[in-house]
C-alpha cells in the first residue's frame, strides 16, 4: 500500500508537470506575435518594446522562461512580486504619453504569494487575486450540480437496470439519450426563456451570482437553474453508465451466491451489486468534477456567472496569456488532487485494491 501511494504521488506530480509544460507551449510558444508590443503604448518604439520584454521576462530563452514559470508556480512569487509590478506601473503611464516612474505604484499591489501565477496582461493585476475572487462562484456551481447529477443519475440508472425493458426503463433511457444529445448552451437559453420570460419568476430566478454570505436564499435561487442545466448532461451519462454496470454486475456469480445463501434482495442489490458497479462511476466523478473547475465555461457564460471558466474565455479572446495559463494550471492541480481522492475512495469501495 505504501509503495502504491508513493507511485501514485509521483505519477500525479509528473502529470502536473506535463500539463504545465503543454500549457506553456500552447499559450506562450504557439501564438505568433510579440505580447510586449501591446504594452508598449500606442506608438511603440523598439527600445520601449525591448524594455517591456525585459520586464515581462520575455527576452529570456524559452527553457529559461519555463523554468521561471515553474519556480514561481511552486515556490510562490512573494519575493519578486514588487520587482515585477513596479516597473509596469511606469509603463502604464507610457500609454498616456506621460513617462513617470511612479515608485509608489507597487504598494497597492495585492495577490502575490503561492502559487505564483504572474500578472494579467489585461488588468495588470495579479492573476492569483482574480482567481481567488472567482473560485467560490465556480465551486458553488459545481458543488450543487454534482449533488444533483450524482443523485439523479445513479437513481435513474439503478431503477432502469432493476426494471429492465419496462416502460420506466424506456422512459429513463429516453431521457438519458436526450440529456447526452442536448447542448448545454441551448438548454440554458431555453431554461432562461421558460423561467424568466414565460413564467413569472424573473425577479427571483436570475442570472449572475449572489454571495452565499450576503444572501443564502439569493445564492440558491440564482444557482438553481445553472445547477439543473449543468447537471442534466452528467446525470444522463451517469444514468447510462450505472445501468450498464449494474446489469453486468447482477449477472456475476457472486450475486448468485449471495442470493443462494438467502440474503434479502434489497441487500443483494445495494450491498453486493451496487457497490461493485459504483467503482467506475467514482473514477468518472472525480475527473468530471475536477475538469469542471475550469470547464463549466458554457454554463457560466449563459448564466453570467463570473467564474473561472468565464475568465478563461475572456482571457483567451484578449490573448491574456498569464490569466489563461493560471486557470489551466488550477484545473491541472484540481485533476491531480481529485485523482488522489478517487484512489482513496476506490480502496474503500473495492477491497481488492487494498489487498493487492
Amino acid at each position: 500500500m505504501g509503495r502504491y501511494v508513493i507511485r501514485r504521488l509521483l505519477w500525479t506530480v509528473l502529470v502536473v508537470l506535463v500539463v504545465t509544460l503543454l500549457t506553456f507551449v500552447v499559450f506562450y510558444v504557439m501564438p505568433p506575435g510579440n505580447p510586449s508590443v501591446r504594452f508598449a503604448g500606442k506608438q511603440p518604439t523598439p527600445e520601449l518594446i525591448a524594455q517591456v520584454e525585459k520586464q515581462l521576462g520575455l527576452d529570456r530563452s524559452l527553457p529559461e522562461q519555463y523554468a521561471h514559470f515553474l519556480r514561481r508556480l511552486f515556490l510562490g512569487d512573494g519575493t519578486e512580486c514588487p520587482l515585477v509590478y513596479r516597473p509596469l506601473c511606469s509603463i502604464e503611464s507610457v500609454e498616456n504619453f506621460v513617462v513617470l516612474d511612479t515608485g509608489g505604484c507597487a504598494t497597492g499591489v495585492s495577490g502575490c504569494g503561492w502559487p505564483g501565477l504572474g500578472m494579467s496582461f489585461d488588468s495588470r493585476t495579479a492573476v492569483r487575486q482574480e482567481l481567488i475572487e472567482r473560485t467560490p462562484r465556480t465551486l458553488s456551481l459545481i458543488f450543487g450540480a454534482a449533488v444533483i447529477w450524482l443523485v439523479v443519475g445513479v437513481s435513474i440508472g439503478v431503477i432502469s437496470a432493476l426494471k429492465r425493458r419496462t416502460i420506466w426503463d424506456r422512459l429513463a433511457m429516453g431521457f438519458a439519450l436526450f440529456g447526452i444529445s442536448a447542448p448545454v448552451f441551448w438548454l440554458g437559453l431555453v431554461a432562461l426563456w421558460i423561467f424568466t420570460v414565460k413564467l413569472p419568476f424573473s425577479d427571483s430566478l436570475g442570472t449572475g451570482y449572489v454571495e452565499f454570505g450576503n444572501d443564502p436564499v439569493g445564492w440558491f435561487t440564482h444557482l438553481i437553474l445553472p445547477w439543473t442545466v449543468l447537471a442534466l448532461l452528467y446525470a444522463a451519462f451517469y444514468a447510462r453508465m450505472t445501468r450498464g454496470n449494474l446489469i453486468d454486475t447482477m449477472g456475476e456469480d457472486y450475486i448468485r451466491t449471495a442470493r443462494a445463501k438467502g440474503l434479502p434482495e434489497r441487500r443483494v442489490i445495494f450491498k453486493h451489486g451496487l457497490r461493485a458497479s459504483l467503482t467506475p462511476i467514482v473514477t468518472m466523478f472525480g475527473l468530471d468534477v475536477a475538469l469542471l473547475v475550469g470547464g463549466a465555461v458554457i454554463t457560466e457564460t449563459v448564466f453570467n456567472i463570473q467564474g473561472l471558466g468565464n475568465y478563461a474565455v475572456q482571457s483567451a479572446v484578449s490573448a491574456d496569456l498569464p490569466a489563461m495559463t493560471g486557470v489551466v494550471v488550477i484545473v491541472a492541480f484540481a485533476v491531480a488532487f481529485m485523482n488522489l481522492v478517487v484512489d482513496i475512495v476506490y480502496a474503500y469501495l473495492d477491497p481488492r485494491v487494498r489487498y493487492s
Binding site: 502529470v15 506535463v18 500539463v19 503543454l22 500549457t23 500552447v26 499559450f27 504557439m30 501564438p31 505568433p32 506575435g33 439519450l177 436526450f178 447526452i180 444529445s181 442536448a182 447542448p183 448545454v184 448552451f185 441551448w186 437559453l189 431555453v190 432562461l192 426563456w193 424568466t196 420570460v197 450498464g244 446489469i247 475527473l287 475536477a290 475538469l291 473547475v293 475550469g294 470547464g295 465555461v297 458554457i298 457564460t301 449563459v302 471558466g309 478563461a312 474565455v313 483567451a316 479572446v317 490573448a319 489563461m324 486557470v327 489551466v328 484545473v331 491541472a332 485533476v335 485523482n339
Partner: protein
C-alpha cells in the same frame, strides 16, 4: 436473437418449407438485427435527410430567394432593430441583422456535418493506428501510449481548445500548417478526440492478439505490419464503427460550443453554435433565434446517438441490453 428468428423465417419462400437452411452472412445478420431497431433506423433516416439538405443548401437558398448572408433589414427588423418572427417568406424568422434563419439553419448543417465527420475521421484514423500499436506490441510502447492517453483525457480539453483557437485564430500556427477558420476548428477537435478511439482499439487489440488465428498467421511467416493491418484490423471494424458514430455527435457539440463562445468557425459562416450565440442577446423577445438552430442541433446529435446505440446492439449480439 429470439426476436430476429421470425423475421428471417418470413423472408424465406413460405411455399417450400423443406428447403435447406441457408446460412446468413454476418452482414445479413447485422442488417436483420439493425432493422428491428426502429429508433436507430429513424436516426439513420434523419441523418440522410440532413446530409441531403446540407448538400442542397445553395439550391434551397436559391429557391427561397435569400442567401445565408443576405441582409433584409428593411423588411425583417423594426425601427428599433428588433428582428421579426416567422412568416410566409421567412419560415424561421430573421435574426438581428435581418438574415433568413431558415436558410442559415440549412447552411449550418453543412458546418456541423463537415466538422463532425472530418474531425472524427481524422481522430479515428490516428486513434486506430496508435491503439493497434499499443495493444499489439505492449510493453514500453503500450505504457507510453496509454499514459499519453491518460494525460490528454485528464486535461481541461475545452480550455486548451479555446486557447489554441485564440492563439492561432488570427494568423495561423505552426508556420501556416494550421490556417484559421474551419481547418483550425477541425484540427483542434481531432487533436482532443483521438484518445477515445485509441483507448477502445487498444483494449480490443489486446484480446485479439492472443487468438489462435494470429498465431497461425505468424507461423505462416506473416510480419508484424501484416498481422496488425490484415488480421487484427478487420476484427476491429465493429467497435470502431460504433464508437466513431458515437464520437460524431460529441464533436458536433464541441464545434457548436466553440462557435457559441465566438471561437469556432468565422462569424460569417452560418453555424448552429454561432446562431445560438447571436440568440443570447435577443432570445427574450425573439424565441425563434434560439429555437430553430437548437432543434436542428439536438436532432442531429440525437440521430447520431440513436444510430450509434443501434449499431452497437446489432453488431454485438452478446450484449443483452
Amino acid at each position: 436473437m429470439a426476436t430476429v428468428a421470425p423475421e428471417i423465417h418470413e423472408a424465406g419462400p413460405p411455399a417450400e418449407p423443406e428447403t435447406d437452411v441457408v446460412g446468413l452472412s454476418p452482414r445479413q445478420l447485422f442488417w436483420a438485427r439493425f432493422k428491428q431497431d426502429k429508433a436507430a433506423v429513424a436516426g439513420l433516416v434523419i441523418i440522410i435527410v440532413l446530409i441531403v439538405l446540407a448538400l442542397a443548401a445553395p439550391l434551397i437558398a436559391k429557391l427561397v430567394g435569400h442567401g445565408p448572408n443576405d441582409l433584409f433589414q428593411r423588411e425583417m427588423t423594426d425601427s428599433f432593430g428588433v428582428p421579426k418572427g416567422p412568416n410566409a417568406d421567412f419560415w424561421f424568422g430573421a435574426d438581428q441583422a435581418g438574415r433568413d434563419v431558415f436558410v442559415r439553419a440549412i447552411y449550418g448543417a453543412r458546418t456541423s456535418l463537415i466538422v463532425g465527420l472530418v474531425a472524427t475521421g481524422i481522430a479515428v484514423f490516428f486513434g486506430t493506428i496508435v491503439g493497434i500499436l499499443a495493444g499489439y506490441f505492449g510493453g514500453k510502447i503500450d505504457t507510453a501510449i496509454s499514459r499519453t492517453i491518460d494525460v490528454v483525457l485528464s486535461m481541461p480539453i475545452l480550455l486548451f481548445a479555446i486557447g489554441i483557437v485564440a492563439a492561432c485564430g488570427t494568423t495561423g500556427c505552426l508556420n501556416g500548417l494550421i490556417e484559421p477558420g474551419l481547418t483550425l476548428v477541425i484540427f483542434v477537435i481531432a487533436l482532443f478526440s483521438w484518445p477515445y478511439i485509441a483507448r477502445i482499439v487498444r483494449g480490443n487489440t489486446l484480446s485479439i492478439r492472443e487468438k489462435e488465428f494470429i498465431e497461425a498467421s505468424r507461423s505462416l511467416g506473416a510480419g508484424n505490419t501484416r498481422i496488425m493491418f490484415r488480421e487484427v484490423l478487420p476484427n476491429l471494424v465493429a467497435p470502431i464503427v460504433v464508437y466513431s458514430t458515437l464520437l460524431i455527435p460529441t464533436n458536433i457539440l464541441f464545434e457548436a460550443a466553440l462557435s457559441f463562445l465566438g471561437l469556432g468557425v468565422p462569424q460569417r459562416t452560418p453555424s448552429w453554435g454561432g446562431m445560438l450565440s447571436d440568440a443570447t442577446q435577443y432570445f427574450r423577445f425573439a424565441w425563434w433565434l434560439m429555437f430553430f438552430p437548437g432543434i436542428f442541433l439536438i436532432l442531429t446529435t440525437l440521430s447520431f446517438n440513436l444510430l450509434g446505440d443501434g449499431l452497437r446492439d446489432a453488431l454485438d449480439p452478446r450484449s443483452n441490453r
